[in-house]
Subunit: 555 residues, 2 copies
């Protein structure tokens, strides 16, 4: 039985789920011993620890003269001293160019089977990937497991499903039979989905697998060879996945260099040389807007970006203000606001908001928000684990700067203790009240645990600001709280024109930061926060070209 047949039901269920868009998960998100085995966690942790200070020898990319690696753990604030083989751009491109011709001739079904097999093998390494993610991104354990493991694998599977569906969207062959009156013209026609060529996927430091695998698997399923260029600070999680892809390719008698890892360092980055190479036809990218804009400007390449955005929460009216404050406090605290979907600008009318229990003033709302953050931070069983750590030292500077913004500082950032890592880089959220007129304070992404309470004239004013911010600076998410149907529709309609998804009235254990695979499109592609969307049809279609052939039917 081939890998396609082996995994056909997984693939078909994924395609179905993508169209139904209700809950579906191929890979369970809970790190439960019942699901993943009693010893899986412990073994994963030991495996990760055994990698520290060593060469990562799992790749099948041939010998390298040079071993490099600059990862540091934000929990230990120490280098991991893991090194990876380094290759020149010419070498990477040459291999990608030649393996492309092998890979493009593998059928779409076989490619899908191979890729799902790689995910099934990655599943056995979810815990190891989780610890690798913690100690590169600084995420808390639970997020590191979920985001880099099952959620990433589901996003990869979604890309495979979307690609597989598009590749089968039109018939491989058909007989064109045109009546001409006394006779028919008959042509045998054939259509082939021709992959574009060599693809490059550029990873980020905060979500090294979740943000990388959609583009990686989308390019692979559509027949392109791929070079994965991880962020120098977060290599190991995606290196494990690339190694497993290479293992399956190798087992199937294919060249593992169909998917290569290209590691570099902060001092000697290869990204521009790589993406500007004329052989590179597809680029996936997650990162800052300046570099993303440069990539989008490269001519003759299909470029998929997720850049920065300024996410909003619009507070109009609520049923239960305490539940709302608790929900939003969690949203800004989760991974110290280092999610691309974390809310930053909270628009609250100066006259306060309506609640089921009466009017709540701006200050009362601010106090409840702050109290809930403090409550979460001061709960030793929750605070440190929700926060994780700060991935990049520069974020700490940004937090300091936020406390200097003109306005009332409702909550200063502070350090709390992580019981397991005494040296962890930790900063709790800072909350600053800003007047709506002080637009310079809030018209940019302040990446990290920074929340701005923006005092507006009224909800119409809030909507206008949130919409304009998204149109001009991008947005990946918006939270909105309103008990009024007309206001709800106005928010939905106006934010839709800024191509920003809206989560309404979230309370309890669901947060506006979370985008579910097979259901939520992540990034819409319609505002400056990015030109791509996980996973709409455009995300896979642009990776190949339909080419037709025809010939008269032989009589």
């Amino acid at each position: 039985m081939g890998l396609f047949e082996k995994h056909q039901s997984i693939l078909e269920n994924a395609v179905k789920a993508m169209h139904e868009r209700t809950f579906h998960a191929q890979y369970p998100e809970h790190p439960s011993p019942k699901i993943y085995g009693e010893t899986a966690d412990e073994e994963g942790r030991k495996k990760f620890q055994s990698m520290i200070g060593k060469r990562f020898e799992e790749l099948k990319q041939g010998d390298s003269q040079n071993w490099i690696g600059v990862e540091e753990s934000p929990y230990m604030q120490d280098p991991l001293n893991i090194s990876y083989p380094s290759f020149s751009v010419d070498d990477l491109i040459e291999k990608a160019g030649s393996t492309f011709h092998q890979w493009r001739k593998v059928s779409a079904a076989e490619r899908a089977g191979i890729l799902i097999e790689s995910l099934e093998r990655v599943k056995d390494r979810f815990f190891e990937i989780a610890y690798a993610t913690m100690h590169t991104t600084g995420q808390g354990y639970m997020m590191a497991f979920q985001a880099s493991g099952p959620h990433a694998a589901d996003r990869a599977l979604e890309a495979v499903a979307a690609g597989y569906e598009e590749l089968n969207r039109f018939p491989g062959t058909a007989m064109w039979d045109k009546p001409m009156g006394k006779f028919n013209i008959q042509l045998d026609k054939e259509w082939r989905a021709i992959p574009k060529g060599v693809a490059v996927v550029i990873g980020c430091s905060t979500f090294p697998t979740w943000n990388t695998v959609p583009g990686l698997y989308a390019s692979l399923v559509t027949g392109n060879s791929v070079v994965v260029k991880p962020h120098p600070g977060a290599v190991l999680p995606i290196a494990i996945i690339v190694a497993e892809i290479q293992n399956v390719l190798s087992d199937e008698g294919l060249d593992p260099n169909i998917c290569q890892l290209a590691v570099d360092t902060f001092d000697s980055t290869i990204t521009k040389e790589l993406v500007e190479h004329q052989a590179v036809k597809i680029i996936d990218y997650t990162g800052n807007s300046a570099f993303g804009d440069y990539l989008e400007g490269l001519q003759g390449k299909a470029v998929f970006t997720e850049k920065t955005g300024v996410n909003s929460a619009i507070i109009d009216s609520v049923k239960d203000v305490d539940k709302v404050a608790a929900n939003l406090a969690f949203s800004v605290s989760l991974y110290s606001g280092q999610m691309c979907t974390a809310p930053q600008n909270f628009y609250v009318p100066k006259d306060g908001i309506k609640t089921a229990d009466g009017h709540v003033s701006f200050d009362e709302f601010a106090q409840k928000f702050v109290d809930n953050i403090n409550g979460l931070m001061d709960n030793p069983k929750a605070g440190p684990f929700v926060l994780g750590t700060i991935q990049n030292k520069n974020t700490c500077d940004r937090i300091d700067a936020a406390e200097e913004i003109q306005g009332k500082v409702w909550l200063k950032s502070r350090a709390i203790e992580n019981p397991m890592f005494q040296n962890a880089r930790i900063a709790t959220p800072v909350v600053v009240e800003v007047d709506a007129s002080n637009e310079e304070a809030y018209n940019q992404e302040l990446f990290g645990p920074i929340a701005l309470l923006i005092k507006t004239e009224n909800t119409d004013h809030s909507i206008e600001l949130a919409k304009n911010m998204a149109l001009r600076h991008g947005a990946l998410s918006c939270g909105a709280y309103t008990t009024d149907d007309t206001t709800r529709e106005r928010i939905a309609d106006e934010m839709s024109l800024a191509a920003t998804p809206v989560s309404f009235n979230l309370v309890g254990g669901i947060y506006l930061n979370q985008h579910a695979t097979f259901s939520d499109f992540h990034v819409t592609g319609g505002n400056p926060a990015g030109n791509a969307s996980f996973t709409n049809p455009e995300y896979v279609i642009k990776r190949f070209t339909w080419v037709g052939f025809r010939e008269p039917v032989q009589g």
Copy 2:
């Protein structure tokens, strides 16, 4: 009964046809009295003649101070003196911006119904459009009828079908029901396809409706307002279609400015001002590569181009060399080589080709090709009608220059008589033999009735040249003749890597220039000849954005 219900079966059949890709035509291509009525042709001709020298008063775009028009008939070499209302770019954009908000709120089904209704009404004006096309583009009567009438309407319908399908690709709503162990998280989700905004469609001088309506109808069905900017030399055919769209919009109580016509003149073009306007989010374009490249470089806009290409015919081996020569002679003569799909470079091995009746030398093949062109030209019942006329005087200069190319001139261009139009601008094909080493002679599009017989080392050499030409300069079509299966596959594979469709071994009444709606993708989007394809899913998807909303299910 609404227009959607009225035309639902047309729409559903079109969607089905798009996926089956065998022959389908909603609008019969033959200008037969039995189909279109005994008096339709005569009435259409009279209607066209009555328009000459007058204002085109059919548009519902409000009063204009200024009436302009510079069309000339290549058959009469006289101005038509038809004038159209002129509007400032600001005025056009303001109306498009406000009507957008009306149009985007019309459901996808209703929009499809309205657009198909417009095509049904256009059908009643096919003959009038045919004469308008003849006397602006210079096409022969039959092509003018087919290309501007039924074939264009089918391409428009195809775009409507593709857009309608994509808009319904995902559910409007779904309940997301995630098991959390002891309870479920349930969210009501909603997805909306949000149109991008204002679209501009830039027409060309040779196929003013066929190349304009796909982008026009694709943008409209996906909810965008559209400004049609025709080529100053070919306005009337598309003006009639815009007028009919405006009629249906008006009848449905909608603002006719949802679709506007923006006429300009050679001396005072508005195209750049229009497309650079920040409100314009979508651009469709057919024309030269320089302007197309400029458009593709505009940031933040979805741009769809069909530019120039260098089309090839690869001659390796044939069954019946006379049938092949006849077929290719027709291909270069049809509308005087002014089709974007017309072959230009004929790659023939210096040692000649194999045929079922023995070997044919290069010179023998050249002579048969030339003889067939002469035979066609000198047939008074065929020649003038196949050729039509030369749309643009510059093409005549290009023909003169071709006769100066280094190499043997096998056939000089000459004038033949059109029995109905003594003053018609006519030029028969020029055929020049060029050595493969003289790449400068053939590495660009020589628009018009110009055929180059390129003497190559062998078929591998021919394939290499055809592929490289397509990769570097673009190609929309390729004809190939081979009786060898291995060679056939090599041609298909190599040309597929240059994203060029190949027609194999065409003889008889089917030509490589012809791309059939619902079956042949026109332009692949994968080489420099254009970045778009009629009509693949990408062609419609990029005109809107999926935006999601979600909210906890009310308990």
